[in-house]
Point group: C2
Chain length 474, copies 2
């Protein structure tokens, strides 16, 4: 039977009628995350507690994990210590750690008190790793085999020890000195001749990450090598945890949200859009607007200094927005390419000169092309009177005089020329900023956009009015 979605009303009805049998059946036919989402909207948290008490814990482990943090907090408050213990027993350490990071201090200490002893040490260790490091997302529940077993023995050992591990699809092989010497994929084990020593079928070309590696690097390893799980080693080279592919998908999603948010200058939301309060939305948007507003002072300063030139030739003002928008966005394109390339590790800051050369060449061609196109377009704009010098145009009844033609071409040349230079400059700055940020280990997405806008705005205004002064002797 295919999965049928469940509504908050349906689940509430089952709870209210104390129909435990049907409730258990729901857990068999509906994915837990869907039930958790339906329950998140229940007004009385006691109803969720009822589920946790009546449905088998092997079903509700994932259900509990999938509840939103604020609901989880209320649920925990309603549980006895014994009940809480039982639920925590069925949870993976990395999920508990994720929860602890979101719960208030008094709930955290209650959880830690009721966590099974053997998990407590791991949890405390995991809590100490830096945010977004491999250590903070890894789980300590994995299967280890010694390197002197045969494939049949390996399967038997996995059956015996693998039950509560996060994955058995990749198991880790150690020698007697407890060094990691290989990984074994369960499918290779299944197909292997049972008598073979495990060392013959294990992958010796496996990858590992360090506990302090950034989670994005972990994601890149798992993705590049199509792994099901990657081993996490501590600084002594000992296996201390693993990161599985489903955790990596969450990391990828989180990192992507961050990159898009920062490029568009909003602090990434922690919850989903609909769950984020208006107040926290305001907090995530306002600082960036203020940064832009303050940085905008530079362009105001420059423009006000050129007031005299603007007065002498007011048509100049008409082209300022198009120069700024087009110039700034040309750089934005390059920033997108840089941020993506760096995130996917297509290149590193060490290849700076290679990238600069590549981008300079294409920027030059783009700038020249847009220069020529712009010259024609801006001439047309003036010729047709869309933007008019002295309100003159062929259609306004003025004749197409030599003087008018010269002025038109000069203006078009000025605007198109400035635009060309602005595009080239903008694309160059857009390489330097993210690459520079990455080189000094700063987030390339966060500094790039507002700085680029300001640098391009100010420099294109200066270029614009300087050329204007030369061309029109103003």
């Amino acid at each position: 039977m295919e999965n049928e979605l469940i509504s908050t009303e349906q689940i509430e009805k089952l709870i209210d009628s104390k129909n435990v049998k049907e409730l258990r059946h729901v857990f068999e036919v509906v994915p837990e995350i869907d039930i958790a989402e339906a329950c998140a909207d229940l007004e009385d948290v006691k109803k969720i507690v009822f589920i946790l008490k009546t449905v088998k814990s092997e079903y509700t482990a994932e259900f509990f994990t999938d509840l939103p943090a604020e609901v989880k907090e209320e649920v925990i408050k309603c549980l006895s210590d014994d009940q809480l213990s039982e639920i925590l027993e069925s949870q993976f350490t990395d999920d508990i750690v994720d929860d602890l990071e979101e719960l208030p201090a008094n709930v955290v200490s209650r959880v830690l008190r009721n966590v099974p002893k053997e998990k407590r040490a791991s949890i405390n260790r995991l809590l100490n790793y830096k945010e977004d490091s491999a250590g903070s997302i890894m789980t300590t529940e994995f299967v280890v085999l010694l390197d002197d077993v045969t494939c049949d023995e390996a399967i038997r050992l996995i059956r015996k020890t693998g039950k509560n591990k996060e994955t058995i699809y990749t198991v880790f092989v150690m020698d007697r000195q407890r060094n990691l010497v290989g990984t074994v994929d369960l499918d290779d084990l299944i197909f292997a001749d049972g008598e073979k020593p495990i060392t013959e079928i294990m992958n010796k070309d496996f990858n590992t990450v360090n506990v302090n590696d950034d989670q994005e690097d972990v994601a890149n390893v798992v993705k590049r090598y199509d792994l099901n799980a990657v081993a996490v080693l501590n600084n002594d080279g000992r296996l201390v945890g693993i990161v599985t592919v489903d955790d990596v998908m969450d990391v990828i999603e989180e990192e992507q949200t961050e990159d898009i948010s920062k490029l568009q200058m909003v602090t990434p939301l922690e919850d989903s859009y609909l769950q984020t309060s208006t107040f926290s939305m305001v907090k995530k948007c306002v600082p960036w607007i203020i940064v832009l507003l303050i940085l905008g002072t530079f362009s105001s300063l420059v423009l006000s200094r050129f007031e005299a030139r603007l007065n002498a030739l007011p048509i100049l003002a008409a082209f300022i927005p198009v120069i700024m928008d087009t110039g700034g966005n040309a750089g934005g394109q390059t920033i997108a390419l840089m941020i993506r390339g760096l995130a996917l590790q297509e290149f590193s800051p060490k290849e700076f000169w290679k990238i600069i050369r590549k981008e300079a060449l294409s920027a030059l061609i783009i700038a020249l092309f847009i220069g020529v196109f712009g010259f024609i377009w801006f001439s047309l704009e003036q010729y047709t009177g869309i933007v008019s010098i002295d309100n003159a145009s062929i259609w306004a009844g003025n004749c197409w005089t030599a003087d008018f033609a010269i002025k038109t071409f000069k203006t078009s040349g000025l605007v198109a020329g400035t635009l060309s230079i602005a595009i080239f400059l903008s694309k160059m700055v857009a390489v330097v900023l993210p690459m520079g940020a990455a080189a000094i280990k700063k987030d390339p997405a966060i500094v790039s956009q507002p700085l680029l806008t300001t640098i391009v705005d100010v420099s294109s205004l200066v270029i614009y009015f300087s050329i204007a002064a030369l061309l029109f002797s103003i």
Copy 2:
């Protein structure tokens, strides 16, 4: 042993010295994708052919898949039909299909001629699915069991039939009428009592996708339910393929690159940055710059119509960039939130009014806050002479006269007021555009940014000069 990276020089030396034994060893200790990358830089494609001929095909299957398209093309040209056949035999159908989409027509027909017969039908079918649909990314190599087997029998059958399938971690259970009735995860099979019928341990709450579903929807299902593989059904509800988690990771990466690229107005690159030619880079950037340039005509038009007002009060020009940058970017923040929310299916276009109300409230608060902050900031700018009316400021030696104060406050009020309205408007437009695009099944990322810029630029200029006319009677 941990994986050791290999350089192009090292592999070239091994090939040149015809050291087949060591070459085979390399394939045992270095991940194939790393070898493929090292080989991609070899100048003589015959050297890669040498590898394919001498190293066992079970090792080189993935190696061949990981070669860049242009290298693959050259390699195929150097292979005999028999050799090509042998390589294709070891490839998954979905990988062959991916290649065919990138290779020139003459190579495609040679590949199709040499593909093993049983694969040819699947490949032809896969090639017919719409780009970016579930059908186009699925593989037809999966394990099916009938629902009357026991767990032990299931494992035996998997051993027998699973060898060349893309995954055995999820197998699919059908009834006698060939309807999909469940999925079984290999770990559940491993832990289950061997005598149990498979129907007792299979997941009945499984998810499926349709062959015509967008690949992004497939990715969302796999991610949400932490699946290892999802079943793809045709319109008659028959199981025709599966999509595995590693393919989903590629989809996620591709879709993210697309979203970021489109938001920053550059057509997404198909290859990595360093592999993209200058010419194709230019092609991906130029159209968008031209769109902006042409759309910029509207703001030029508006500004040139307000020339008289600008002449009467030239200081107005100084604040145009800050209004445009800040107003436009405030909307950009909202666009980022919308694009991400839609991509992660946090909400759908049906929730338009809910989102509009939520965003309107926060936009209003942000606009008011920035209005107040802006008023103070712009007053300071003028008070200190950074931007000066009639070149006056307390430091320029002019006294702080009542007239000067009134003019300053009026200007600050004008700029801050326009900015407030622009921010509110911009954020509202930034909800409507992507949600509207999504509602009519268009890509929300692509239309939003240039249209937003233009709408905000033009309307804030009109508002600015209209208020200015009222305040200063110009």
